[in-house]
């Protein structure tokens, strides 16, 4: 199974629903287009910014344009493929017991790579727990992302090395951190921007609303990037809002836009514009990337309890990787050698991650007491010493050990 197989399968399976011809997806973008009588330039939802149709056809949008070199286009494709491969590897490492949990981004590659590649080095990102693709764009070592899912730490990379904050699990909190950080950027007179990622479910949290308020009042250079992947665990977006989420921004006094989150070109274009908006002193902006969580919420989740196969199939037809591949192929922007090379690179990435995780050491027991405080704390010192003494007592008196007591 190749790293792209999900995309390929998805499109193949669902193409049956969308076209009369059962031609395999990769080969026949033109056919699929022909089978759809509506003009490809008109997306299903008029409010959705789209630059690349699900069939891989370039379309124009009055407000957002993009002009990328073949290299850049192939780069985006490569990012998405490698991200998906890394994600698949992590999922299988979880199955093998190497990770306690994994939150897959499957299906959200375009939303993450498109926005991640819009960033400058000096911009700062506040992710949720699912932004593996953005982390990839920021140059965070993928193995680092696995630490918390393996249970060896609660994050632990240096946020300032890559201007990529730690994953935040408590829903919505990071939007305020991003806003405060952006307020600091303004105070410094810098022209960097900040991106706060959050989900459709998170849009209900009071913290997110407060972040909107602070960002608007202080005109902070922060882009609120909502990946609306249609689900918050088992709850569909209708349980969070009865209007499209991007519309919330206007009520706080800044622009909101909904972009096809499975269209990497549109996401890139829209995020660039939003960042420019922030950078140029116009304040915050909300981007809603309309996408789909193709996998389970996490490896602990069982989506068959709350959603249908049909829904997933419909979204597979809009697969972000497949549509860019169709475009690259149709325009002759990538050849077999490119795809083969990428295939190999993916394997390599998977292997590397696998090895790193299997040799990732467990933390030392006494790490329990480390880093609770920067300047120390008398109680922790006392407890550390007592616990060390307690542990040492087993060494002194082997007859009294845990094994003896049958535990």
């Amino acid at each position: 199974m190749t790293v792209e197989s999900t995309a390929a399968r998805g499109t193949t399976r669902s193409s049956g629903k969308r076209t009369a011809a059962k031609t395999p997806a990769k080969k026949a973008p033109a056919k699929r287009k022909a089978a759809q009588p509506t003009a490809p330039a008109a997306p299903a939802q008029p409010e959705l910014v789209q630059l690349l149709t699900p069939e891989g056809e370039r379309v124009e949008h009055p407000d957002y344009a993009i002009d990328l070199s073949p290299d850049e286009l192939r780069g985006l494709y490569r990012d998405m493929v490698l991200t998906r491969r890394f994600d698949a590897e992590a999922t299988s490492l979880q199955r093998q017991g190497e990770l306690g949990l994994w939150a897959s981004l499957l299906g959200q590659e375009a939303a993450q790579i498109g926005s991640g590649r819009a960033l400058r080095d000096d911009d700062y990102v506040f992710p949720t727990y699912r932004e593996h693709g953005v982390a990839w764009c920021r140059g965070v070592d993928p193995a680092n992302l696995l630490g918390m899912f393996r249970g060896v730490n609660n994050g632990g990379w240096d946020p300032n090395s890559n201007n990529f904050h730690l994953y935040t699990i408590v829903i919505g909190s990071q939007t305020l951190h991003a806003t405060g950080y952006a307020m600091g950027v303004s105070k410094d007179g810098a022209d960097s921007a900040v991106v706060a990622y959050f989900g459709d479910g998170a849009s209900s949290q009071g913290d997110v609303a407060e972040a909107f308020t602070f960002a608007a009042v202080y005109n902070a250079p922060v882009v609120f990037f909502c990946q609306n992947n249609q689900w918050a665990i088992s709850e569909p977006t209708e349980k969070q809002s009865r209007v499209p989420i991007y519309q919330r921004a206007a009520g706080y006094g800044f622009p909101g836009v909904r972009v096809d989150g499975n269209d990497v070109l549109a996401v890139l274009a829209v995020t660039r514009a939003a960042l420019e908006h922030a950078r140029s002193g116009q304040g915050p902006m909300l981007v809603e990337a309309f996408t789909y969580r193709m996998g389970a919420h996490t490896t602990s989740d069982d989506p068959t309890r709350y959603r249908t196969d049909g829904e997933r199939a419909a979204w597979e037809a809009k697969d972000p990787i497949q549509r860019l591949r169709a475009y690259l192929e149709a325009e002759g922007l990538a050849d077999e050698a490119f795809f083969a090379g990428l295939e190999e690179e993916s394997e390599e990435l998977g292997r590397g991650v696998r090895e790193k995780i299997r040799t990732m050491p467990d933390p030392d027991t006494m790490a329990i007491f480390e880093n609770a405080y920067a300047d120390g704390h008398a109680l922790i010192d006392e407890e550390r010493a007592q616990f060390a003494e307690y542990l040492a007592s087993f060494a002194d008196d082997p007859a009294d050990s845990a094994a003896e007591r049958g535990n």
Partner: protein, 330 residues
């Protein structure tokens, strides 16, 4: 539904499910609400099947907003409903903390008794399940300190069943701490038995040398420790507190005045944990009976560690027995 009316071996999660089911059947004003409690049946399946049987109007999937969940539960209670609100994990209760301590806890007093808020908040709590951050905490002291709330935690399926029924019947707000790592521990549940009062402690094992006091997930650990100690010729009494607010000090005191020694065990950090209160109060009540200071075994004053360290962090058999040794050495 037949299971709810009979006795049998049930895991704790299922016992709570049966208890909710029987409460939903008994009183049309009872509601179940929270994130993912509907079709999914909750991430631990504690509410499994309830929405199917009682409808979306009574088993309510809420927006992802804990303050909203508790705040609207208060409003529903003011309208005459008896909401049972689920907080998905211990670490996610804090966005609702203001509504809980400022509104839920105080409104009965604010109204000079003229309104009642029979709201139950279910919180799966504690560690030991190998989870990521925020999924293993024991915040009970942060609620027990607050007047107006009651806090309980069952240690076994029978208590889980009955205490939930009693919590729902209570006209006071009850924070119901569910020992998530024991969710699958089975025990006999007699759904026709007459239960003990909700806030009464129970002597779970009799003994003469020392008293172990615990609640929720640590009761099992203490019972195992007592069994291990017995092999070493030591007779430990185990008190299952069941209620953290109020605490049944009388039962603890009776036990301590018999054994002369007390060790309190909880997963929550020792510093300002429930054990501190028990130690202080029992020492005051039984000053001349204590042959050793009350010792406490619990979490450290550090954030709950990553999963690969939790076994060392959590009080286990050895740490309990170490404290027992120390107490007996006086």
């Amino acid at each position: 539904m037949a299971a709810a009316k009979s006795s049998g071996q049930l895991p704790i999660a299922k016992a709570i499910n049966e208890s909710l089911r029987s409460a939903l059947e008994a009183d049309p004003k009872v509601l179940v609400m929270g994130e993912d409690v509907g079709k999914l049946g909750g991430v631990f399946r504690v509410t499994d099947g309830l929405q199917k049987d009682f409808g979306e109007d009574r088993v309510i999937d809420t927006p992802l907003a804990e303050s909203g969940i508790i705040g609207t539960a208060i409003g529903l209670a003011l309208r005459g409903y008896r909401p049972v609100a689920e907080i998905q994990f211990d670490g996610f209760v804090f966005p609702a903390y203001d509504q809980i301590v400022t509104q839920l806890a105080k409104m009965h007093a604010r109204a000079l008794g003229k309104v009642r808020l029979p709201v139950v908040i279910r919180i799966p709590y504690g560690g030991g399940i190998g989870a990521v951050e925020h999924h293993s905490e024991s915040p009970e002291a942060l609620f027990a300190h607050v007047a107006g709330l009651k806090c309980v935690s069952p240690s076994n399926a029978s208590d889980a069943y009955w205490m939930m029924r009693q919590a729902i019947e209570s006209d006071d707000p009850v924070i119901f701490f569910e020992p998530k790592r024991r969710y699958w521990d089975k025990a006999a549940v007699d759904t026709s038995a007459i239960p003990a009062p909700l806030h009464r402690a129970r002597v779970a094992r009799e003994g003469g040398d020392l008293t172990l006091a615990a609640y929720g997930p640590m009761v099992k650990t203490c019972l195992e420790a007592a069994a291990a100690a017995e092999e070493e010729g030591r007779s430990l009494e185990v008190v299952d507190l069941r209620s953290i607010s109020p605490i049944d000090f009388d039962t603890v005191q009776r036990s301590v005045e018999k054994t002369g020694r007390l060790v309190i065990v909880h997963e929550a950090p020792v510093f300002l944990g429930a054990g501190a209160e028990i130690a202080a109060r029992i020492t005051e009540r039984s000053f001349y009976h204590l042959e050793a200071p009350v010792l406490r075994v619990g979490g450290f004053h550090a954030p709950y560690p990553p999963a690969r360290l939790e076994e060392e962090y959590l009080p286990g058999l050895d740490r309990v027995l170490d404290a027992v040794d120390r107490a007996l050495a006086y």
